[in-house]
């Protein structure tokens, strides 16, 4: 009961000094963000949070705590997207303590009230930190998904001949995706030849080679023949020195050679006009 009363008194105090505290708080926050947001915008954001903090302290209704968390999460997400650091984001909340402290510093009788308030602000600060890192992780996973989708196109070279130009680093997840897309495309296009072009792949190690071999044997199970093209001189040296065997899989230096081979196997011939 005692704690509730203390928090209640702090709520009354904060409500009475609303304009002063918000003004000082906004100044502190604006100084911290070095001109990346305007004073008015900061003040608008903080007034909203301030009102919710007062409601939570006053224990007025049960929705206040949830609303406050949601507002802080939103603030942290925006900050994370706008490229603020986590400390800058948390600092925005912690400056509230400083702004209030400057006011209560002279009155010794408000110490328990200030402590209760301080504990609440600490929790809120941690909350922003958590929301900030969650938002960052979300951004990272969105970007990697976007990259995955961008980087694995399957193109049709000829009737019954498709190609997958691979660019970048091949890891298990990507190779799996490439394999699935290639096989799906083989079935939908009814293609019997596939060319895997690795011109854009910087390094080929045993793991990557293993993945390529798996893709080729899966395609064979569907009844399609695969050719690997675009092996660069350095990559060829690596492959040989690692002792990787491509077995009976056809490998070609360029995509053009691979296409010529696929056309020949399909019984087609390119003749000059």
């Amino acid at each position: 009961m005692e704690v509730g009363a203390t928090r209640g008194r702090m709520a009354v105090y904060l409500r009475d000094n609303q304009d002063k505290v918000i003004g000082r708080w906004s100044e502190l926050v604006v100084a911290g963000v070095r001109g990346r947001t305007s004073y008015d915008e900061v003040q608008r954001e903080l007034s909203e949070i301030y009102a919710l903090v007062v409601r939570v302290l006053a224990d007025a209704d049960e929705h206040a705590a949830g609303e406050l968390r949601a507002t802080l999460d939103e603030l942290s997400r925006t900050r994370a997207r706008d490229g603020f650091t986590p400390s800058e984001t948390a600092q925005a909340v912690f400056s509230l303590k400083e702004a209030v402290y400057e006011l209560v510093a002279d009155s010794a009788d408000l110490v328990p009230e200030y402590l209760a308030f301080s504990r609440l602000v600490d929790d809120l600060g941690l909350r922003t930190f958590e929301a900030y890192s969650a938002a960052r992780e979300q951004i990272i996973s969105d970007q990697s998904t976007a990259m995955m989708e961008l980087s694995t196109p399957v193109v049709r070279l000829w009737d019954g001949i498709i190609a997958v130009p691979l660019v970048g680093t091949l890891d298990s997840a990507r190779t799996q995706l490439v394999m699935e897309k290639l096989l799906d495309e083989l079935v939908t296009a009814g293609a019997s030849h596939a060319v895997i072009d690795i011109t854009g792949v910087a390094t080929v190690d045993t793991e990557v080679a293993q993945h390529l071999l798996k893709t080729v044997s899966a395609a064979r199970l569907l009844g399609a023949e695969c050719t690997i093209s675009g092996i660069r001189p350095q990559v060829a040296q690596t492959i040989v020195s690692l002792g990787i065997e491509f077995g009976d899989i056809a490998t070609k230096a360029t995509l053009a050679d691979a296409l010529a081979l696929a056309l020949r196997q399909a019984g087609l011939k390119v003749v000059p006009q």
């Binding site: 899966a218 199970l221 569907l222 009844g223 399609a224």
Partner: protein, 117 residues
């Protein structure tokens, strides 16, 4: 136990697997196929697995065994219509179905058999 029907079309036996394969039905199919190969003297077997969504190592091995049995009767086996997911599973299991040929669909499978004869 469900049995898989074996159809004779010209010199080719056509097996379309439309059921969830149980171990007994697979063994029964092997026996039936061997009998039909002797009775008809067919030179090719097409096994259509378009409807098969799940395979395990036993079924994977069964396909290879059917290929070996058919070869004893001088018949070539072509597996047609494998789904990408099934192909990935078989590869992960390390089964490359040596001794049988594969084709995207029944039409291409027939072309392979006719090209041979």
């Amino acid at each position: 136990m469900e049995r898989v029907p074996i159809l004779k079309i010209g010199p080719t036996l056509f097996v379309s697997i439309q059921i969830d394969l149980q171990d007994e039905s697979v063994l029964a199919l092997q026996e039936d196929l061997a009998e039909r190969l002797v009775a008809t003297g067919a030179h090719g077997v097409i096994i259509d697995i378009t409807a098969v969504e799940i395979v395990d190592s036993f079924i994977g091995r069964m396909l290879t065994v059917i290929g070996s049995i058919s070869r004893l009767f001088d018949a070539e086996t072509v597996i047609v219509g494998m789904r990408p997911a099934v192909a990935i599973t078989l590869t992960e299991l390390g089964l490359s179905l040596s001794g049988v040929r594969t084709a995207l669909n029944a039409e291409k499978g027939l072309e392979i058999l006719n090209g041979k004869s």
